[in-house]
């Protein structure tokens, strides 16, 4: 079959079962866009290339499939960098196609030329510059395989214009790629060690992370915790991997984790950490992290083991395979927890929970942001797919929206990218048009990719933006309040557009609530609309996220806001 490079690209995308491309055309990809025009591929035209990557990222996080975007060379390509770095930090499988000037011009500083493979080398799992049409199909296939195998990640494929215009006899059956699957060898001896540690432990705790969601191991993890009554805490990326409504759930740990989760980590004598990488926001000072615990660490990436926290028993492998093995091993060896010890441990945790519950105070005439999130949870039955921006909006969502299912909380964890939530929500809603998809945003973050409201309007992608508008870069302001004697250096964002009018200008519905009594009504109205909606909630200006571990502190030392610091 004689095909042009552009046709080979679309053929391989079909073989890879790509359903949707997020992209933005330009000179170097005109030929590809011409081919798209003739095909029936679903393409969403974003308004900025960063939005394309975040949308593909949101799609990937919600579906577990590889997200795909297509942009032009030069600035089109460089605009993807923040999106790629975001996906890379959270191990999200993406394939990003960038146009490139013809191979003969590479290195000549041609118009819209840039060395995008050089630029993205440190923030992709891998990248390719396709030098000739013979390697095109193999490279694209390999890119998809690399993106989704082992510890997933973004892969960039740079496509010079002349390669895409060249012709080749394309035979799909002849394409061979290298295998990059991470090897997992079941290790009965290690399982025996875990059994022994579990048997000896009086206060075991499970810590679940993004690797459990990426590895589709939430079911196994939940079974393990429930079967042996082990309490569970989670990282930001792990939210949803264990039901937030289960009594064994302690909420998130770390800087803005719950008091009881942090106390449990600081007190437990066995920590079973699954699919986590012990980020500094989670551990606080390393030498006081889980000081009494033996740590078992299950992770697919050997480089995560002993990177930040020294562990007692590393198990390298796919979280699903490892947990399945562990469950089987425990069954076969008739492990049962010591009932009395477990009862005491759970009671100790309940005492902490009672002493310092996760709370806030909604009184008076000013809307509390946490109240908006809790009301949203109530009105959606917790069943919405939620994206967030970054900052206070993200932490409050993590604290107050109890996620029951994996792949339902879509947030930029590692890189902390403001402007992520809206385009990500567009990606999620594209995959699940029948689900309620809500971006919980702040007024700072939403302005970073606000142009994507036009994308939502154009395709009637009915995402709902819940804007917690406090007129500040709230999280930075919080740090200025706490650590810089309230010198609010450049965090006041009172000068802002009228978001309702702005939404309407984009062709999106705009609603506003200024009093607590209006919150439920506005949410109800906005959620019911079959079109994109921006809901502007004027919230308490100087509300802080609590509890909080101050930087450089142990996670057992939490500031509780209006209450005393508790040790």
């Amino acid at each position: 079959m004689k095909l042009k490079g552009t046709q080979v690209l679309l053929e391989v995308l079909k073989e890879e079962q790509v359903e949707i491309i997020f992209g933005y055309p330009g000179g170097a990809v005109l030929d590809i866009y011409d081919e798209l025009y003739k095909s029936d591929f679903k393409h969403i035209l974003v308004r900025h290339e960063q939005g394309a990557v975040h949308a593909a990222d949101g799609y990937a996080r919600a579906t577990g499939k590889v997200g795909v975007c297509l942009v032009t060379s030069g600035p089109g390509a460089t605009n993807t960098v923040t999106g790629i770095a975001t996906a890379n930090m959270d191990s999200i499988p993406l394939v990003v196609f960038t146009g490139q000037v013809p191979t003969g011009l590479i290195g000549n500083d041609a118009f819209q030329e840039c060395d995008i493979t050089g630029i993205t080398r440190p923030c992709t799992k891998h990248n390719f510059l396709v030098r000739n049409i013979e390697e095109l199909a193999t490279t694209i296939k390999e890119a998809f395989h690399i993106a989704r195998s082992g510890r997933p990640g973004p892969v960039l494929v740079d496509l010079p214009k002349n390669v895409m215009a060249a012709q080749i006899d394309y035979d799909p059956a002849a394409v061979r790629i290298r295998n990059h699957e991470a090897l997992y060898k079941p290790a009965p001896k290690k399982m025996a060690n875990v059994l022994e540690m579990l048997t000896r432990a009086q206060k075991p705790l499970i810590m679940t992370g993004g690797g459990v969601i990426l590895g589709r191991a939430a079911e196994e993890l939940t079974r393990l915790a429930r079967r042996y009554r082990v309490p569970v805490t989670g990282t930001l990326m792990g939210l949803g991997s264990f039901p937030g409504s289960d009594p064994l759930w302690l909420g998130m740990l770390g800087m803005h984790g719950t008091y009881y989760a942090n106390m449990a980590v600081s007190t437990c004598d066995l920590l079973l950490a699954v699919g986590v990488r012990f980020d500094d926001r989670v551990t606080g000072t390393i030498d006081t992290f889980a000081p009494n615990a033996k740590i078992v660490h299950i992770d697919i990436d050997p480089s995560s083991i002993n990177k930040n926290v020294t562990v007692d028993l590393p198990i390298i492998g796919d979280t699903k395979a490892a947990l399945t093995d562990l469950l089987r091993f425990l069954e076969e060896h008739h492990y049962e927890p010591d009932d009395a010890a477990r009862q005491n441990w759970l009671a100790e945790i309940d005492d902490w929970r009672e002493k310092v519950p996760l709370t806030y105070c909604q009184n008076g005439e000013v809307i509390k942001p946490q109240f908006v999130i809790q009301t949203l949870h109530k009105l959606t039955g917790g069943d919405a797919l939620i994206t967030t921006e970054v900052g206070q909006n993200q932490m409050w969502t993590a604290q107050f929206f109890g996620f029951d299912r994996p792949n339902s909380f879509i947030t930029s964890g590692g890189l902390g990218t403001m402007g992520f939530g809206l385009p990500a929500a567009i990606g999620v809603k594209s995959a699940f048009p029948d689900r309620q998809v809500v971006d919980i945003a702040g007024d700072g973050s939403i302005q970073m990719n606000i142009q994507e409201l036009a994308t939502a309007a154009q395709y009637n992608i009915a995402v709902k933006v819940v804007l917690l508008n406090n007129g500040y870069l709230g999280m930075v302001r919080q740090w200025q309040e706490l650590f810089y004697e309230k010198r609010y250096s450049h965090t006041d964002m009172t000068y802002a557009p009228d978001f309702v009018k702005l939404a309407e200008a984009f062709g999106v519905a705009g609603l506003r609530a200024t009093k607590p009594g209006e919150v439920a009504d506005v949410l109800r109205q906005g959620l019911a609309m079959d079109k994109p909606v921006l809901m502007d909630f004027r919230v308490s200006r100087e509300e802080c996220v609590y509890p909080m571990v101050h930087p450089g502190e142990s996670i057992s030392q939490m500031a509780l806001g209006t209450r005393e610091m508790i040790n």
Binding site: H126, P302, S303, I305
Partner: protein, 161 residues
């Protein structure tokens, strides 16, 4: 933890940017490459990289893990504590002077160094050996006025698999 020199042998696919990936991975994570040698193996699509770096065992393990993550890396091995042969090579150019001629010729003979080119005005000497031997040779020649010098990175080969 105690820092020491480590010799790391890496097999990679011979791709245009594989060295940039390795150097970038180490540099980006704050690790230093002290010496480096790269060339193809008997299979022309596979190259071997031998590099030396200084660090604690924990640091070097992290480096190995980071390298192992790279898609084009086939294998990574720390040869520091493996029985292996280590060699470096140095080319030294010296200008003859009335004072140094005899002493340099004596040193070449005594140490069985190789003269690559010898003219009326200068000599180029080739010396191979392990790091200590090369350091010794350079120290020995230094007082006689070295005009220029090029030293390779270290290469290493295991005695057995």
């Amino acid at each position: 933890m105690e820092k020491k020199d480590h010799i790391i042998s890496i097999l990679v696919y011979n791709k245009p940017d594989v060295l940039a990936r390795i150097a970038g991975t180490l540099g980006g994570k704050g690790y230093n490459i002290d010496s480096l040698c790269v060339n193809t193996t008997t299979q022309k699509d596979i190259s071997k990289i031998v590099m030396t770096t200084c660090g604690s065992q924990a640091t070097v393990t992290r480096i190995e893990n980071q390298l192992q993550r790279l898609v084009d890396v086939i294998s990574v091995e720390d040869l520091t504590n493996v029985e292996s042969i280590h060699r470096e090579m140095v080319l030294v150019r010296l200008n003859w002077t009335a004072q140094n001629t005899e002493a340099v010729k004596n040193a070449i003979d005594a140490n069985k160094w190789k003269i690559v080119v010898s003219g009326d005005a200068f000599v180029i000497i080739e010396i191979t050996g392990d790091k200590t031997q090369i350091d010794f040779a350079l120290a020995r020649l230094e007082p006689h006025g070295i005009a220029d010098v090029t030293r390779t990175g270290l290469v290493a080969l295991k005695l057995e698999d």
